[in-house]
């Protein structure tokens, strides 16, 4: 087929002008994800992304928005440096108005950049207590560890697990857990009998297991993430630590559940009742099971909710004839406050924290079961 010069020039002009035209019409809502997609924490990136994808499928099927959602993906690598670089790109190059992220270190590095550009950032994975007050544009759809640890204490008292040893990554998450256990255990007549900090890249735990054994705890709590979690559990069990092992919501990932040594592991999460019959939860659980042939985890719930929240806010703004920007999204969130999400109606406080009850789970036969 021959293309004459005039057609070629006209096509080029349309091509060059298209993005400007699209922007002028507000053609797409640019939404970003800043998840660890490579490295030892990449498993989380895959989990978070699967949940966002399901939410997008539902939003598109419902034709909820007039303008489509343009999803831009950046790899945080689970590190603060990766978080800062990725957020800068989403803010300055992609011009995202709403970014979903995870990991405490990543969130703390990304938040100042996002706040400067007035981008709403939603965390569904990081649980460091500092995330509660990072910025008016930083919201959490996951309970933080200063809510998770206190919820575990009555169960420890009931099971007479008073002497607790802690293995923790020396970062805001780990230090948050250390602080909560130090402050909370005396209240139930218990004590922190040993605390062992580790760098995020450590892979050998036989020596730490020896230190834990010598402290003779009733239970061992670990605060880590990614592949390191499985390494800690396996090496503790391999090296003669037979006591009850405890952790926070980070333990609820498939690779931990599949580990034979993780049988009996107790971990806290937000309340997740997949038998609820409200339409949002029912649809999420049914479609998740059909698509992935397994039950969703609370991380899936959180990032589905984060994506759905954007659609609900943008829908409200579109109906009101307002532009969808970080500022207007925040105004809309503060105006509406309560949203129909997976797990029931979720209500945000002034700081952008979604309030949710906590439950205690135990891994039995490779599956998480609620025990309290």
């Amino acid at each position: 087929m021959m293309i004459d010069r005039r057609t070629l020039l006209a096509s080029a002009a349309i091509g060059l002008g298209a993005p400007r035209l699209a922007r002028a019409q507000g053609a797409a809502h640019v939404v970003g994800t800043l998840f660890p997609m490579a490295g030892p924490n990449a498993e989380y990136g895959a989990i978070y992304t699967n949940a966002v994808q399901l939410a997008l499928e539902h939003i598109n099927a419902d034709k909820r928005l007039k303008a489509p959602i343009d999803l831009r993906v950046e790899d945080s690598q689970g590190t603060p440096q990766g978080g800062a670089v990725g957020m800068a790109k989403l803010a300055n190059v992609e011009r995202a108005v709403y970014v979903m992220l995870g990991f405490t270190g990543v969130a703390k590095a990304a938040a100042p950049i996002g706040t400067r550009s007035k981008i709403v950032m939603v965390n569904g994975g990081g649980v460091g207590p500092d995330l509660a007050e990072l910025s008016p544009y930083f919201w959490n759809v996951i309970p933080l560890v200063n809510q998770e640890v206190p919820a575990l204490l009555p169960w420890l008292q009931e099971k007479n697990l008073k002497r607790v040893a802690l293995i923790y990554v020396d970062d805001p998450l780990g230090n948050g857990v250390l602080q909560e256990l130090r402050n909370g255990l005396p209240g139930i007549g218990g004590a922190l009998v040993g605390d062992y900090s580790i760098p995020p890249a450590t892979q050998q735990f036989a020596a730490i297991a020896a230190r834990v054994r010598s402290a003779r705890p009733d239970a061992v709590y670990f605060a880590s993430y990614g592949a390191q979690q499985s390494q800690i559990i396996k090496q503790l069990r391999d090296n003669g630590v037979s006591q009850q092992i405890l952790t926070y919501s980070g333990g609820g990932i498939p690779s931990v559940m599949a580990l034979p040594e993780a049988e009996g592991l107790v971990f806290t999460t937000q309340a997740a009742d997949w038998t609820r019959d409200d339409p949002v939860t029912h649809r999420f659980v049914t479609d998740w099971r059909a698509k992935h042939n397994s039950d969703p985890s609370t991380y899936h719930q959180n990032y589905y909710n984060a994506m759905r929240l954007f659609a609900l806010l943008a829908e409200g703004l579109e109906k009101a004839g307002k532009p969808v920007t970080g500022e207007t999204l925040r105004e809309e969130m503060l105006r509406v406050r309560s949203f129909a999400l997976v797990g029931g109606n979720g209500t945000f406080n002034d700081r952008g924290m979604l309030s949710m009850p906590i439950q205690i789970n135990q891994i039995r036969d490779g599956r998480a079961q609620k025990i309290a």
Binding site: E43, A207, I208, R213
Partner: protein, 289 residues
């Protein structure tokens, strides 16, 4: 008792480090190629063993599969990456970037095939039993130590007693003279890559059983190999093996004196100390300029 336990854990960790570092040192010593993709060889061997285990095949088949994967990758790197670069007078950095790129390719392929999560080969060998009050040892301790010793004896005999082994040692010194004696530097280079890659297999298999695998494991392996190669004396196989053992023992023993946070850092403090006070390493030769 805690000291004894930490020493035992250190020896087990160190034996695996020694096996990992020795291959890197052998390749660098013979070819002077900074084989950054050695970590990828380790990952490939570990995942090959894992695949075999998941398929329900017996462990000797898994080890063989790991050996084939490691050696094939090492030979392919030599033939299709390093040799073409060297033919075009590629610099050290060209080699480094090419090898680094291959490491990322291998990592991505592993992620595609096995997912991004943690994987481990379950075996009763890793379950420790109390051998005296406060000291726990698993059978894998004896396996690691035994395999490391046996392999180093075999490799030492090969390097010192065989024509190919002596040629390998001479390769880095004077390739021209090698040719005069009728030896092919190309074949010897392939031998170095094959042997060096094969040496990684026991470490990879033991790691798959003890601390487990994840696709990004290459970086950690390279870090240890590099540290051991520097502490042991660049290019010295025995130095790297001894340094690997030393790093493992230091990493474990140090936590009886300092916070557990400093365990991994302690090995690198030793590395800095060597760079400052004995730059030629344990077995390296000092060079007068």
């Amino acid at each position: 008792m805690l000291f004894l336990q930490l020493l035992a854990s250190g020896i087990q960790t160190g034996a695996i480090y020694a096996l990992t570092a020795a291959g890197f040192a052998l390749i660098f010593g013979a070819t002077r190629i900074f084989h950054v993709a050695h970590g990828a060889t380790f990952a490939l061997a570990g995942y090959a063993f894992l695949a075999s285990s998941q398929a329900g095949w017996p462990w000797p088949v898994g080890c063989l599969l790991a050996l084939v994967a490691a050696v094939a990758f090492g030979l392919a790197m030599d033939a299709f990456v390093y040799r073409p670069i060297q033919r075009d007078q590629g610099s050290f950095f060209t080699v480094f970037v090419a090898a680094f790129g291959m490491t990322i390719v291998v990592q991505s392929l592993i992620e595609l095939a096995f997912g991004r999560g943690f994987e481990v080969v379950n075996t009763s060998l890793t379950m420790a039993r109390q051998v005296m009050p406060g000291v726990y040892l698993a059978d894998v301790f004896w396996v690691a130590v035994g395999v490391a010793l046996a392999l180093f004896i075999l490799v030492t005999v090969f390097l010192n007693r065989t024509r190919a082994g002596i040629g390998l040692r001479a390769l880095s010194e004077n390739p021209e003279l090698l040719r005069a004696y009728g030896l092919s530097s190309r074949r010897l280079s392939a031998l170095a890559f094959g042997l060096g890659s094969a040496l990684v297999v026991p470490g990879a298999v033991l790691t798959a059983m003890t601390s487990g695998l994840q696709p990004a494991i290459s970086a950690q392996v390279m870090l240890i190999s590099l540290a051991a190669a520097v502490v042991g004396g660049i290019g010295s196989l025995h130095g790297a093996a001894l340094a690997g053992l030393l790093l493992g023992v230091i990493e474990n023993l140090v936590i009886s004196f300092v916070d557990t946070q400093w365990s991994a850092a302690a090995g690198f403090v030793a590395l800095f100390a060597f760079i400052l006070f004995r730059p030629s390493g344990l077995f390296g030769r000092a060079v007068v300029r």
